[in-house]
């Protein structure tokens, strides 16, 4: 029973996150590109999205730092690494290039796919292939992919 409620909660949080992307306008790649285009007509909306998210997130992560267990049981899986590694920087830079090309990142890609956009489907398949290539050839020596 608890397991099923846990899965339902996962689903609900996924939907809530998707609504956040839709309401904030971030499910629209053109809006993201409008933010990334500093030299053109600039749309600062993304800053407001980040500010709203981090404001609430700070409180959430502060509360969690006082706890040792998740509500649905089990240990907390919170990354502990603090080193600024080469893969972190190179990977993030490559991610940023891809993000800048189409204005799509993983969350909005799934929302757009759910809304029935064929281009989002192609993006998600390519994204999975990119992840697999990285895993197979670049992080194969590790047991698990790095955590944020």
């Amino acid at each position: 029973m608890r397991k099923h409620i846990g899965l339902l909660s996962q689903f609900a949080i996924g939907a809530l996150f998707g609504w956040g992307l839709i309401i904030s306008g971030m499910s629209n790649p053109q809006k993201v590109l409008g933010f990334l285009d500093l030299a053109g007509l600039w749309d600062p909306s993304l800053i407001f999205v980040m500010a709203g998210a981090i404001l609430v997130g700070l409180a959430g992560f502060y509360v969690v730092s006082k706890r040792s267990e998740a509500f649905f049981g089990g240990a907390l899986h919170i990354p502990t690494r603090r080193d600024i590694s080469k893969p972190l920087i190179i990977g993030s830079f490559i991610f940023g290039i891809g993000w800048g090309i189409a204005g799509i990142c993983p969350g909005p890609a799934l929302v757009a796919l759910g809304a029935g956009y064929l281009k989002a489907f192609v993006f998600v398949v390519a994204m999975l292939v990119g992840m697999r290539i990285c895993e197979k050839f670049f992080t194969a020596h590790k047991q698990k992919p790095e955590q944020p």
Partner: protein, 145 residues
């Protein structure tokens, strides 16, 4: 710098951002995990028993979001994808590869990482934002596409 006042949506963006923050906070409180979409999705590529169902549930929630938003609130998402197929393919590959190699994306590093004041996520976010700015500058103002 010229601000695009017609496209600028401070209030919906702030509200939507707060919803993203609520989702991320609920996720770590209830499930003890970082709400990083790329990490949750890439975990689906390995079939480890007991690890698939929760990831799939979250992904299904995200996929259902537009339909549920239309049903409950009558909101239709604006999704304007102007890139051509080749650009989409290349962008997807780079986003997938980069998120995997850099251990996170806009949600894991950007929202959750900054919310928990992680130095790694701060560096990652600054890096992918800079790369995004440079890429759009190159495409729109150097190549003129």
């Amino acid at each position: 710098m010229h601000i695009d006042w017609l496209s600028f949506t401070p209030i919906p963006s702030l509200l939507g951002g707060m919803i993203l923050g609520i989702a991320a906070a609920l996720y770590v409180l209830l499930h003890g995990r970082i709400l990083g979409i790329s990490g949750i999705v890439s975990g689906l590529l390995h079939s480890k028993a007991g690890d698939i169902a929760w990831r799939l549930s979250l992904v299904l929630g995200l996929l259902s979001a537009p339909v549920l938003a239309a049903l409950f609130f009558g909101i239709r998402p604006i999704v304007d994808i102007e890139s051509d197929w080749y650009a989409i393919l290349l962008a997807g590959l780079l986003v997938g590869f980069g998120a995997q190699y850099g251990s996170g994306c806009t949600s894991g590093h950007g929202i959750c990482g900054l919310s928990r004041l992680s130095p790694r996520s701060l560096v990652a976010t600054a890096t992918f934002m800079s790369a995004g700015f440079l890429t759009v500058f190159a495409i729109r103002h150097i190549l003129g596409a």
